[in-house]
Symmetry: D2
Subunit: 152 residues, 4 copies
Amino acid sequence: MIDFQPADPDFETRVRDSFDRQQVMRLLGARLGRVAPGLVEIELPFRPELTQQHHFFHAGITATIGDSAGGYAAFSLFPADSSVLTAEYKINLIAPADGDRLIATGRVIKPGRTLTVCTFEVSAEKDGRAKPCAIGQQTVMRLDGRPDTPVA
Amino acid sequence: MIDFQPADPDFETRVRDSFDRQQVMRLLGARLGRVAPGLVEIELPFRPELTQQHHFFHAGITATIGDSAGGYAAFSLFPADSSVLTAEYKINLIAPADGDRLIATGRVIKPGRTLTVCTFEVSAEKDGRAKPCAIGQQTVMRLDGRPDTPVA
Amino acid sequence: MIDFQPADPDFETRVRDSFDRQQVMRLLGARLGRVAPGLVEIELPFRPELTQQHHFFHAGITATIGDSAGGYAAFSLFPADSSVLTAEYKINLIAPADGDRLIATGRVIKPGRTLTVCTFEVSAEKDGRAKPCAIGQQTVMRLDGRPDTPVA
Amino acid sequence: MIDFQPADPDFETRVRDSFDRQQVMRLLGARLGRVAPGLVEIELPFRPELTQQHHFFHAGITATIGDSAGGYAAFSLFPADSSVLTAEYKINLIAPADGDRLIATGRVIKPGRTLTVCTFEVSAEKDGRAKPCAIGQQTVMRLDGRPDTPVA
């Protein structure tokens, strides 16, 4: 993995604050894990409310935390006064998301002034063993001069 | 649009029953709209709990109902004893999901014995006007001999 | 389809000139068809050199003209002094590309200052009947102040 | 990377024979590099005929060898009497394909009885240094009982 230099030394606080403002993460019960330059982890404990008809995590939930992990991985490298927007992503669901917990890891592959390309992987942890259940590839956009904070 | 012939005359009941078993749809507050052969609509009223940091619907939520609409569009054409699995999808978020309600429409483009290819579109309705906020393209898998019902 | 207003009245000449500079289109034997604001067609007659091991058009060739049709559809709406770059695309190969001719149609779905989102469809024509063999979804980037002409 | 066990001990011969039957690879001038269980490399020397309007490798060419590298990586794990079909892929073009040579590496991420998920990376080599220019994610289908050989 490439060693990225964040533009903003306070990147971790900025990522954690933004994550805390996403109400949907609270609804799902997702938590931020590791936040490093160009790498972010999101964890999501199992709850019956997050399941599809076979009682696995719903694919949409898997995708939601995968996309967010990638978006925040990109955001960790952005300057302080910018915000982040997912332009697009693609996800392959490679195994049932069957576990006590999902862990999504987003990684920057190619940072850019306008577009940043990321990949993400989501694993399902069951009885202490993690097994990949989804992989994704994503394009994230940087919006300069628009800090990621609520409008007063 | 192509005129599809469903393999199961009770396709609508089968789609509605399966949707009702998805607990995550209840958590989000999503409802099934139109169910036709090869076309399914899902509606989702706005709730603050579904938002990202700018108070629009979170991209993951948009994707969740888009993916589900496509999956159920495929499922509507399947035989009675089969179930459905999203193999992969790709989504472009083309405008902020800013509205009182999201409407996702999934459409079968190419049905197949094993793989069905669908597209989906999600629109955000605001003050009675709908504006597309996401488009997607999806591969859905049919699992034969595995009815979409809970294991006893 | 939306009625797009091209920023450059000479868009058709600009698209055709750029296409003519793509040596790979000559190698394949591809030709520009219709060029309208936000819609471009590319045609490719069958040649054994374009085939995979089963003597259908190779998926890479199908994708090449699909991607180009989408890129030029976007380019048709750009200002005169800009150039075009595919950021990413996704393609589903929905039937064998079996025919005397391929026809790719690219369409702009959402134009934007930086990013334009397109879809494309490729059909294989056999004995006068066209059958879709691929669909795609694409993100195209506009580079301003960099005309699409060779460096002197 | 996972250590894959090929179903067919003669996988390398089978991959090389199939590649040789793809006429389009000859037209482009592509050559097979490394062939290992679940990993295949394809190399493509620069030729002006393979370029877009800025004299870099055309994105379609980059995608063609990326897709083929992934497809053959999957095919290397298949039984002897099966053939391979790309169902879909997604590619991000992360840098101009500017170089004397392209090298595409396809890798199996998740093998399956019906569907195999792969990733691929394409690098452009210039003055002896390789730089990634594209990454992709792909779904490949296995067709059993249909050997990858020409119909007599």
